[in-house]
Amino acid sequence: MSGSSIEAVNLSKSFGSFAAVSNLSLKLEGTKCIGFLGPNGAGKTTTMKMFTGLISPTQGKALINGVDIREDKKKALGSCASLIETPEIYPALTAREALMMLSELRGVPKEERTKRIDEALGKVKMQEWADKKVGSYSKGMKQRVNVASTILSDPQVIILDEPSTGLDPRGMSEVRDIVKSLGNRLVFMSSHLLSEVTEVCQEVALIDHGKLLVYDTIENVTSRFAGDGGAAEAGFSRDVDEAALSRILRLEGVDKAEKSDPRHLSIRFTGGLQAQERLFAQLADMNIGIVSFRETSTGLEDAYLSLIKETL
């Protein structure tokens, strides 16, 4: 399945005088997962809608596997499945019928349809509801069927716009597992959950105000933009008194320490992993009852905040 690509060429979309996406040029290719990040209103969904024919670009091209979606939508989307926002399914159809409709429309071989539908519904844990009308489903259940619809036709390219929306924590975890299992495909996924992107994606593209800020591997983005700051939460077996707090504040690399409750401290520090290791050891040596130490920021989060702040 090599040769898969998604490419934006000077892609722009304006709604009246508001430029939602502005001259976006981005080429994603290969078999990997690319996280698409940006604040609300940055242009992520608008970009994805242009790639799926839901809206037309004001100018520029949206290409999937080299085919312009406006010139030949059937060919462009023939090997691409997507989940944009939270689609609704015809309420009087069952999940099995809705997926059968899609598999017929997408040309899934007749002899494989039932098997693929069962597999897809199995992956999203919806087998028991397969023959019940979609109108009786909860929002999360509908989203599970929507996720199933994206893997049904074995596409080369998958576009996912915040696929975890509406799902409970278990559903989110299952979606992450599904995306991770799509190893031999090109997955382009927007999300506000940076931990989710860090877990399942190898690369990230970050946009703001409709413009691309950076596109690179997560490691490169983190090392270039995250700086050496970090944050952690420390838990104690007894209340942290003011004396202990002031001692912690005087430790090397600690910028800030404050109580989130009497037995928990939020600590911000600089100095990277070395400082983190030293801090953990020093807290243990202080004999103030430390029982847990958990990193609370990811490099990607710091890079994201740094980049978004820079564009404000």
């Binding site: 969904t45 059937k74 159809l93 929507n146 074995d154």
Partner: protein, 292 residues
Amino acid sequence: MIAMSANSQGGNARVSSLSQMRIVTKYAFLNYFRARRFYVMLVVVLLISALLTFVAAYYRPATFGFGTPSSQNPALTFYSAFWGSVPTLVVLLSVVFFGGDAISSEFQNKTGYFLIPNPLRRSVVYIGKWLAALGASTLILAVFALISLANGTYFFGASVPYQFVESLAFAWVYLVSALGLTFLFSSLFKTSIISILTTVMLFLIVFDIIDTVASVVAGIEPWFSITYAGGIIANVLAVPFPLHSVTQAFGRRFTLTTFNAPIPEALAIMAVYFVVSAALGLWLFERKEFTS
């Protein structure tokens, strides 16, 4: 059997637009058939039929052909009274129930987000849904036609006047045309209730006002009105077919002119309505954007 080309993509065959249209029609019809509104529509038609059957069986009125000499074709009089003006109402309700929000709901209910980002043309969805709505509406119209036939056969024998068959055919053509117009309004708006209300207002009030103002007030033939053309459904059951224009004098100064569309003209009006509204509706749907 689905027609597929040899141009395979990702292990799947490329499905022709015609086959995709059939698929959309099949599942949209299934959705209509199972939806509550189909049964509401069926109940409405059964209630109308029950009321007319009760009137015919209990009162046996002369307007239904009872007591009419056999030389004056009492069966035709019966069909004229039982069937005559009901199809336009059935068509109106059907197009509102099945077509009023057929396209606008794709935007408002977000079902379009499930269907449109697939390798198919938007016209496939539009025409597929139109055909499904036509199928559901035809089924409802057929139920009323069968009940009319059953009553006519019971009261006046199996000899069905050919005018009834013509009227049924005209009712179906009217349905095709009205559904085309309804889909245009449905693709004009993104809100279901607005597209439904617009359709209802248009067919129940606006066209009637236009017909009346044009013919009675201005003395102009309302050749531009689809409901005027729909008059042939009832008129074809009248013997002789009503004159194109009838002017009645009220006193010395006031005259009232009413128009009846001849069959070819009425069919032409319906055809133009269908072609123009279908082309416009498709054009609008192709360009409409799925924005939140």
